[in-house]
């Protein structure tokens, strides 16, 4: 009698333990970013773009991000027909996976759908030089800068040790310093522009001369246009278009990259 009771007790505990473990495992799985990502992918494959975006955004809400995540969100928005948000997410992906060919293809294709693309004919020399760093992500650029800095110190130390041995050492060191400065500027520019870059997410928006509803319209921006935020005042952003034109637009019409 006693033995039978003990047996049932052990069985009950075992069942409780197994059920608890399974529930815990399920909870773990649902918190797993990989699982969430794949879940969203399956929704995308089923053509449920809204739901896919919602699941993808769970990861963003958890304070996580990845280039592929933004890429997939961008694709989902594109399929939904929200060009502005698609380009916005492609821009965000570009910060993390700038060399990705799929991303570049989709970004270019999305841009081709933007009405009235502002083309810039003359690009300043410095911008052209900075474009050489385009394939570096933010962290990649930081590591490059750190590497140049270490190499420069090493070279200077070697020059210090073997003073008369190296010819043209001044020119060599100067080149390294120039490279260091240029990379520093590129990183600075990237940080600065990333904090200011934005994309118009509404269908179209009028940029006005003043941050007032009935102010004169300066120009019109269309969905997906990339702009730079210069200043913020109440519900208004002072923005600069790629061709240099400046105006005030409603804060709700844009989203910071």
């Amino acid at each position: 009698m006693y033995t039978k009771f003990a047996k049932y007790t052990v069985l009950c505990f075992a069942l409780i333990f197994i059920t608890g473990s399974l529930l815990h495992a399920q909870n773990d799985q649902e918190r797993d970013p990989g699982y969430i990502f794949y879940k969203a992918n399956s929704l995308y494959e089923a053509g449920k773009y809204d739901e896919a975006i919602k699941i993808y955004s769970e990861l963003i809400d958890k304070g996580l991000e990845s280039g592929n995540l933004y890429y997939n969100i961008g694709n989902s928005y594109f399929k939904k027909g929200e060009l502005g948000r698609a380009i916005l997410n492609y821009e965000r992906a570009n910060k993390l996976i700038p060399g990705d060919s799929d991303l570049k293809s989709n970004y270019d294709f999305a841009l081709s759908k933007v009405r009235n693309v502002i083309s810039v004919t003359s690009v300043p020399f410095l911008k052209k030089v900075l474009a050489l760093y385009k394939s570096f992500s933010m962290n990649g650029l930081t590591i490059l800068l750190s590497a140049i800095y270490i190499i420069l110190l090493l070279v200077l130390f070697l020059f210090f040790i073997v003073r008369p041995g190296v010819r043209h050492k001044t020119i060599f060191a100067a080149c390294l310093i120039l490279f260091l400065l240029l990379t520093s500027y590129a990183l600075f520019d990237r940080i600065h522009s990333d904090n200011r870059g934005a994309v118009l997410i509404s269908a179209d928006s009028d940029a006005r001369f003043e941050p007032i509803e009935d102010a004169t319209v300066h120009f019109t921006l269309y969905e997906g246009t990339k702009i730079y935020v210069i200043q913020q005042k109440r519900d208004w952003f002072k923005i600069r278009r790629q061709d240099g034109k400046v105006g005030w637009i409603n804060k709700d019409d844009v989203e910071i990259i």
Partner: protein
Amino acid sequence: MKFSIAATLIVVSSVMSLLVLSVPVSAADVQFQIFLDRDSIYLGESAQLSIHFEGSTKILAMDVSDLEGFQSRYLGPSTRMSIVNGKMSSSVTHIYSLVPVKTGKFTIGPLSFEHDGDRYTSNKVAIEVLDSAARAGEHSQQKKTHEIQLEDRIFLEMDISKSRLYLNEIAQLHVKLYVNSMSVRDVQYPQYNHEGFSVEDFGKPREYQVNRAGTRYSVLDFQTEIFATKTGEFKLGPASLKANIVTRSNRQIPRSSFNDFFRDGFFGGYESTPIEIASDALTIEALSLPEENRPEDFKGAIGNFQLDVSVSPDKVKAGDPVTLYMIVSGTGNFNAVHSPVIKNKEGFKMYDPQIKLEPNRKVFEQVLIPTDDNIEKLPDILFSYFDTVKGQYKTIVKSNVMLKVSGADKEEITILDPSSIAERPLKKEVLGRDIIYIKESPGDIVIRDQYLYNNPVFLALQLLPLIIFIAGVNFHKKRERLSSDKGYARRLAAPRKAKKGIRQAEEYAQKNMALDFHDAVFRTLRDYLGNRFHVPSGGITAEALDTFLAGKGIDKHILDRLKNIFNECDMVRYAPSGINETKMHNTLREMKEIIDYLERHKDEEVRGKR
């Protein structure tokens, strides 16, 4: 020593050579003789003729090509020089191989030649040439009385199947080598003139034996096919053939072990003699084909042919291809056989035939596409040729070759012309465009807005290379100063060395070794002061302290204490008994305080200088 012997030998031999070469050949010295290595020989064998000149080695070989009854071949010279009892003699023998071309008795010589204006005449030698056929029974059979030529034993003949040929008519040409009672090897393919004829290469020759006028011959039969390419009368040949006659060697002179090895060692005393024999030419008449009754579809086929025609498949739908097989077989010149002619091409799309040439037949495979669904049979197929046996044209007609063509199912029949397809302009391909599919994996998931540039650990790590750099520079500078500034190096080393000395003095104090203790104290202080002020340590004594430390800013009280220690050390050396352990510890403490003071004073000095 070795060198001198070798040099002597070289000099002697050189002098002797010069002497030999410079000896003038006078007419009286030269003797001219000829020898044969045998006096009888069989047809097919060779004899060796030696023309010997005694008294000179510089006489060149003579031309003996016109010897009656023989073909000659120069084998080479043999020279000899000797010195006997101080008298030098030299000779040269030119050796020839003689191959008899007929039987009989022959006399060679006397030969003559001119040298330096003098004429020399040799002796003469006789040789009998016997019939090789009688050799087997030479002891029993009677000798034949009539003369036998070499040509009777080995000869070449040309033979052709027809001497009157039509243009392009094939004839069999034979070139036969007949050999009797001798061995032949290394037989080469015959060469012959064949202007006006197209000839094939000879195949592998056939070997057989024939009996001809009571004589048995071995025959090597070279066979090929020829046909005339021009009309008229032409000479075919003469054919010539090169071979080696294998003869028994009976060499007597010259003979060496090398000759034995190469001539007799392997082949049992046989040697080969090259020979070139020629046949008579043939006269061939090439006729043109008659114009009379020549069929329209005649394309030059000549011979005796048959034609077989079949089609596969024999039931098709209009538009489907069929293969027509036309096989021409028989005898004749297949090079001149062209595709049979399809009389009526209406209702068919036809492609050029594929041609296969096989032994005694030529196969034509032609793809046809019937375009008419009312076709029941193939159109008539004609093949015309000239029958060389009957001397007239013949035409083979193949009709009633069944081909049932039915209508196409649904699709419209379109016969595509490749040329028009090639010329048709290509429509520009329009490629679709859309976004590329989503990523299957999440990639590197990181915390949002966390970058290396705002990561404090990463930024702190950036200081590390700078610290290493500064430390490295300082270290290098210090090393450089230590190697260049001796005073600095000594000052830097002074407290370290003093510590070592103090430790040693402490050990002596604990062991109550007064003499060693004071010795260590004195040495430590003296070395320290020497290093500290960069002066020679050896000269520092109690009396000299004032001089050494003058102007160094040392407190007088410290100076006095220093002097006391120095004096104490001097005293102990002479009277060590009055020193106990307490006293030694006091002295040690004093020394430590003085060194400590001087070290601190150094820092003040540095600050004062700044």
